[in-house]
Structure formats: C-alpha cells, structure tokens
C-alpha cells in the first residue's frame, strides 16, 4: 500500500513537473521578444524589395493613389497597401507583441502614437528624419517624439472649422460671415431652429461625442489634460471655460442628439435635419463621399472658421490626424523609410493625397503650394485649403502622453454621464473626473498652480521661413 502511494505520489510529482515544464517552455516561446539587433540600421542600403503598408479607408486610398509616383521614383521597391479592417491599431499592437505579422509601415492615429512609441517597438527614425522637424507643425511633431528621438512622421493634420449647409443658412436668413464666437454660433443656431420650426438643428452633439468637442475647445482656451510632467491637469479654469461652452451648446436647444457617424448623423449630410458640422478638415472627404457632388453655384456646402471663445480669440484647433510608423522589427527599413519619406516629407506626395482624398498636409512646405489657393467647386468655389491653413502653426499643443488614449476614454465616460444627467450646475465635474483619472491611471493630479499653461510660444523663425 505504501509502495502504491509512493508510486502515485512520484507519478504526480513527475506529471506536475512535466506540465510546468511544458507551460514554461511555451510561455518562454511566446513572450520572447524579437531580436532587435537583427534589423538593419535605417538608411544603410539602397531601398529595394517589397513592403506592406497598413492603413484604413480614405487614408489607404490616398496611399494607393500615390504609390505609382513612388514606384516611379524608387522602381526597386514594390508597395502593397493593405486596407485592413476594423480595429487596425489593436491588431498592430498584437502583431508587435507576437513579433510576427506586423507590416513594414503602419498608420496610427496621432493620439495613439505616444502610447506605441513608449513601447520602444517602433523604429528610431532620428538619423533620417530629424532634419524634417522645422517642416511640420510643432504640435504634431512633438507627438512623434520621445526623449528627443523621432519615432513617427506626422501624416495628415486636422485643422478644424465649421462645415455648413449654404442652402439651409440662406433659407433661414443666417449669415455665416457674422459668426465669430461660439455665442454668435449659438444665436445663429437658435434662429435656424426657431425659423425651421425645430426641423433643422444647428449641430450634432451626442452624449457619446463630447470628448472630441472638449479637446477642440481646450486648444482654444489653452487648457491641458496632462501637464508638462505628465500629471493630470484637467481641473483648470481653461477646462472649465471649455466645459461651459459645451454646456451652452447642449442646453441652447440647437443640438441634435445623434451619435457621430451613426445613420442619423450621416443622413444630415443630404437631408435638412442638421445645418452645420464643426469638425476637422478630413470631414470634407466623408461629406464628399456621401453626398452627390454638386459644384459651383449650386453647391450646398460651405466652410467658415471655427468660432472663438471670446471676440478676437483663437479660431483654430486640431482634431485627429495620423502618423506613419515603421516597426522596429521591420526587415526592410530602407524601403519602408523611402516610402514614408516620399508620402509625408515631399510636397508632391502630400499634395497628391490632398487632391485625391482631402488629406490635409502636415508638411508645411506643401501649404505654400498654389494648390491650397485653388477654389473648391464642392464648396461653391471657396478656397477651403487656404482657410484651413490659416494660423495652423498656432495650434495649441496638447501634451499627449502614452496615457492619452485611456484618459480620453474615461473623460468621455465622465462627460456623457454628466450630460445624460442633465449637466447639473455646481457639480465639480472636472475635479471628480481628475480624481478618477488619477486613480485609474495611477498618476498624480498636478498642483493647481502648475496647471496654468505657459503663454503660447510664437512659431520659431525656421517655421516662419518655411511658411513664408
């Protein structure tokens, strides 16, 4: 009996040892990091060979459109643009984790870039890209850097304005040229709502889309979510001012409570339910894709500059935008960089994308082009390119840390909770949100004296030279 027990015990020990051994071996395999030294240093050889690029919808089409021009310049490189489906950034992250399956070049949202850069799995582009710094808006370039090194190149940028329906504004007797502040905008909206009998609302502003509006307004009030040291700086007078604009926009009876990119939101493009869409320049591509092109005098769409918080205030902000990155394990970095350089650091590459897909260049020399002054028939021959370029280098830089994505998710949750509860006056929304953010992200809240941002720096001489 004792022998039997001993035998069983030894068998159990052996089985456990084997199971743990197998698990450890498999675990060891799967979490092994890719060999970083295997990748050749960038710029070491002439670009050649095939590369794969991951991108999504309009942006992918823009890259496909410029590929023939690139392959003419670098005939030894063959580019495949993969229009990958939903949640590309998640799959990109999983590919980086697995060490296999990542593309040679990938698109990322500008707001996601700091998170990916912080993982140190993206190629350090400093040796080949540093020289391009003065040619991009500082706000965008900063989001591509970590510890003074460059890991991504800004692609398109998202200067904001208000897209409006000329026919509806004319029908209800509202002159967009007279809208200079958000108060003017609200008054114009009330006129439209009242004269249309409530049929037409001024703007879509659903409870689940308030964070993007807050981000736009924070740039106008010079607020921040994180301070320069990465601490939470949301509870500030600037943010309260921005939140107050949201409160007024939502409580003035002018908004349509529809979800962005939902069926009702899209239906507003061609119906008469929504008169204007505050948003970034890339929205033009979506509108043009959705509604039939009506050019010239019969065009129904127009654009006016973003209303300021106060008369004479800032009328520019950025929303969205993307970057291109090269994974550190990319086997063909020279060809990958050649493609990124052509697409993003040449006037021709950027203008090709602007013409084909309304992707607005981050590359400042491209903004000097006469293409930007061309009238756009879709917008009744308005030179919208120049309108969006106005004050682009003055866009307030939000400190996008690697926690940005997670923080904005929580802020959106907090804002939609606040809005759906009727935006109670006197509630310390931002203080409460800061406390929760601090708890969730394990980051301290900045002392209130440190939350007041420094005055907006004027664009550097080098940037001004590029623009002039």
């Amino acid at each position: 009996m004792v022998a039997f027990v001993r035998h069983r015990r030894s068998r159990a020990i052996a089985l456990s040892a084997a199971a743990v051994g197998v698990a450890a071996a498999v675990a060891g395999c799967s979490i092994a990091l890719p060999d970083r030294t295997a990748a050749a240093p960038i710029g070491a050889a002439a670009p050649r060979g095939p590369i794969t690029v991951w991108s999504w919808n309009v942006a992918a089409k823009a890259l496909q459109a410029l590929t023939p021009g690139f392959e003419q310049r670098d005939p030894a490189v063959r580019v495949t643009v993969d229009m990958t489906g939903a949640r590309m950034s998640t799959r990109f992250m999983l590919s980086l984790m697995a060490g296999v399956g990542a593309p040679d070049v990938s698109q990322l949202l500008m707001t996601d870039a700091p998170h990916y850069i912080a993982t140190h799995r993206l190629m350090d582009l400093t040796p080949v890209a540093a020289k391009y710094e003065p040619m991009f808006p500082p706000a965008q370039w900063r989001s591509c850097m970590l510890d003074g090194r460059v890991y991504a190149i800004p692609w398109d940028t998202g200067p904001c304005a208000v897209f409006y329906r000329r026919d509806l504004f004319a029908r209800y007797g509202v002159d967009p040229a007279r809208i200079e502040t958000w108060d003017d905008y609200i008054r114009a909206g009330q006129t439209i709502v009242s004269r249309s009998g409530g049929r037409t609302r001024m703007l879509p502003l659903g409870v689940n889309d308030l964070e993007s509006m807050l981000e736009i307004l924070l740039q106008q009030t010079h607020g921040q979510i994180f301070d320069n040291q990465g601490r939470i700086a949301l509870d500030s007078p600037q943010a309260r001012q921005a939140l107050d604009v949201i409160r007024r926009l939502r409580s003035a009876g002018i908004r349509s409570d529809v979800a962005a990119y939902g069926p009702e939101w899209m239906a507003g493009f061609s119906g008469d339910s929504i008169a204007s869409y505050p948003g970034a320049v890339w929205l033009a591509g979506t509108i043009k894709d959705t509604v039939p092109e009506v050019a010239g005098e019969k065009a129904v769409w127009g654009v006016f500059r973003l209303p300021a918080i106060t008369p004479g205030g800032v009328r520019v902000a950025n929303s969205g935008g993307s970057v291109l990155v090269i994974p550190e394990a990319c086997p063909n970095p020279d060809a990958a960089w050649a493609f990124v350089q052509y697409a993003l650091c040449t006037t021709q590459g950027q203008l090709d994308q602007y013409r084909s897909s309304s992707l607005y260049p981050s590359f400042l020399p491209a903004l000097r082009s006469s293409v930007m002054d061309q009238p756009d028939p879709f917008f009744a021959n308005q030179p919208v390119g120049r309108l969006f370029a106005t004050d682009i280098t003055k866009i307030w830089r939000l400190n996008r840390t690697s926690d940005w994505g997670e923080a904005t998710t929580y802020i959106q949750e907090g804002l939609s909770h606040w809005a759906s509860c009727g935006m109670p006056v006197g509630e310390d929304v931002l203080g409460e949100m800061s406390r929760k953010l601090s708890e969730r992200l394990d980051i301290p809240v900045a002392p209130s004296s440190d939350r007041v941002p420094v005055a907006l720096a004027a664009p550097s001489t080098r940037i001004r030279t590029v623009l002039e």
Partner: protein, 329 residues
C-alpha cells in the same frame, strides 16, 4: 490468466540501482521519480500515443493559456514592455474598481431586463410552433431564428434608426400616440432598456428552438392522460409542460447568464461600447476595453480569472440543482 501488455520490452532508459545519498537531493529525487514514472508508462506507450494528440492540443490551446493567464493576474504588462511582478496588487485594485462594480451591476440589470420577457416569448413561440394546427411551421421557425444569424452591421444600422433620438422610428411612433419621445440611447436610464430590447429581438428565436426541442421531448401520453383526467389547457401547462421543461429552462438560463456576462456585439454597435457614461457597459465589454483598448493584460487577466471562478461556482450550483431534480424525478 494474464496477458502481457503491448510493448512490454524493457525501457531503454532503465536505471541502475540508486544509492540513498542520491535520493537525498531534491533534483535527484525528481529525476528518479520521473524515471519511475516513465518506466511505469512505457509498457502502455502505444495507447498513450493514440491519445496524445488530444492532450497536446489541450496543453497548447487550453492548459497553457489557462496557466499563462493565471500568471498574468499577478503581473503588470502591456504586452510590449517587460512584465513587472506586482503580487496581489491587481486583486486589490479590483476590489476598489468602481467601473468593474458598475459593469457587473449593469450586467445584472441588463440580464434581469431581458431574460424574463425573452423566455416568456420564446416559450410562447415554441408552444405555437409545437401546435398541431399550425401551418408553415418551417417558415415561422426560420423567420424567428433569423435575427440571431443576421450580421451585426445590419442590426446596428437598423436599430440605430429605430432608437434614434430625433427621427427614430420608435420616437416617431410615440409622438404619433401623443406620448413623449424617449432618449433611448442618450440617457443612462434608457440605454440598458435599449440593449435589452435588442437582445430580446435577437435571441428569442434561439431560445425558442431549445424550448421547442424540450417540448417535443415530452411524451404525448402525459397530455392524453391528463386530458382523460379532466385537466384543462392551463392545468396541463402548469402541471406537465412547465415542470418537464424545467431542465431546458435551466440550460437556457445558464446560457443567458454567460451570454449577458460576455455580451459584446449588441453593446458595441448600439451604445458605442457601453455609453452614455458607463451606463450600458457590461463585464465582457469592460474586459475587452481593458485588454485591447488599454492593453492592461495583467489586470484584465486578474478580473477575468476572478469572474470566471464565480461563474464556475454558479454553474456548479445550477448543475447540482439539475442533478437533484433528476434524482427526485
């Protein structure tokens, strides 16, 4: 009479004699134990070979993720940077995680909102489809089952239009009836109701099929005997159908419990992943967001493990109840 097992030849790794000193060290003791074990299984190696594929697959795709996930529960890891051992800190964080508490509460409320109407409707439809007099049964069965195979993209568009705040079909109907419009997807109170309505629409047909199978498993003799004894339709339903359908109901409830915990599509497409605020965020959606939006794999594993254990215990209780029922029966 005894038969020699297949391949009873002496194993090639047969060990020599061991001295007591050799056994004394743990590594030698383990290697001796392994040798003993190999010697004992060697005669049956062919049988082990036959069953090996299953165990290999299970080890790689079942056991390994299970063990690795358990390990992850004790580390902080974003998938790319090195892991940091944090001990029980993830579990401590979980205890004061307000969003997790809200997600579990939402899961419970959504479950309570949709399970009763869904089961009642499913039973009603199953009864109708089980009736002798009904024509075109295959058509109705397919029509009722169709929602659960309809692509979510289509459902998202259609239900977006139905629940729309300004021009939604439901609100138009309410206004036509001189009632107030309801902020279906834009208020914290109504978002769960909207999700529940979608779930009822989508999964009633599925549960109906299960209940129909249960109904068809009840012998007709019972009903005939009851009829002879003078039982009316209500009594037959109350004393025959419902008691005999109880195991099927329990199975449906178990599926619903798991379905509510890990519900994803409905919430993702209808309320943008749990909004407004976190009013329709359920456990599955929260887990997804922790893992694939925030890349907190350590904490997500910790939460998943804890809830999986709770679900496992719940399932055991339901099974035990079922078994007790069968024994009584």
């Amino acid at each position: 009479m005894s038969s020699e097992p297949l391949g009873s030849a002496a194993p090639p790794f047969a060990a020599g004699s061991r001295s007591p000193r050799q056994v004394a060290t743990p590594s030698r003791a383990a290697s001796a134990a392994l040798r003993d074990w190999l010697r004992s299984v060697w005669p049956y190696r062919h049988f082990y070979l036959f069953i090996a594929p299953f165990f290999l697959f299970f080890a790689v795709f079942g056991l390994y993720p299970l063990l690795f996930s358990l390990y992850l529960s004790f580390v902080k890891w974003d998938g790319l940077t090195p892991m940091h051992w944090v001990g029980l800190s993830n579990f401590r964080m979980m205890l004061r995680d307000e969003v997790l508490a809200r997600a579990l509460w939402n899961t419970l409320v959504i479950g309570l909102l949709y399970v009763p109407p869904m089961m009642i409707l499913a039973l009603l439809f199953a009864q109708l489809l089980n009736a002798q007099w009904l024509k075109l049964k295959a058509f109705y069965r397919a029509a009722l089952f169709l929602p659960c195979v309809t692509p979510m993209v289509v459902i998202a568009i259609v239900f977006g239009l139905i629940f729309g705040a300004d021009r939604g079909v439901l609100n138009d109907l309410l206004i036509a009836m001189h009632l107030r419009a309801v902020p279906w997807l834009t208020s914290e109170e109504w978002s769960k109701v909207s999700v529940a309505i979608l779930v009822v629409w989508r999964w009633t047909g599925y549960n109906m099929i299960l209940l129909l199978a249960g109904l068809q498993g009840i012998p007709a003799d019972y009903y005939e005997a009851a009829e002879v004894d003078g039982a009316g339709p209500t009594q037959r339903m109350w004393f025959i159908t419902l008691p005999l359908l109880r195991p099927t109901f329990r199975f449906c409830m178990l599926l619903s419990l798991l379905g509510t915990l890990y519900m994803f599509d409905e919430i993702f497409v209808l309320t943008g992943g749990g909004g407004p605020g976190t009013s329709s965020l359920n456990f599955g959606m929260y887990l997804f967001s922790l893992s694939f939006d925030d890349f907190k794999f350590g904490y997500a594993s910790c939460v998943a493990y804890t809830i999986a254990i709770l679900v496992f215990v719940g399932t055991l209780i339901v099974n035990r109840l079922n078994r007790a029922e069968q024994v009584e029966g």
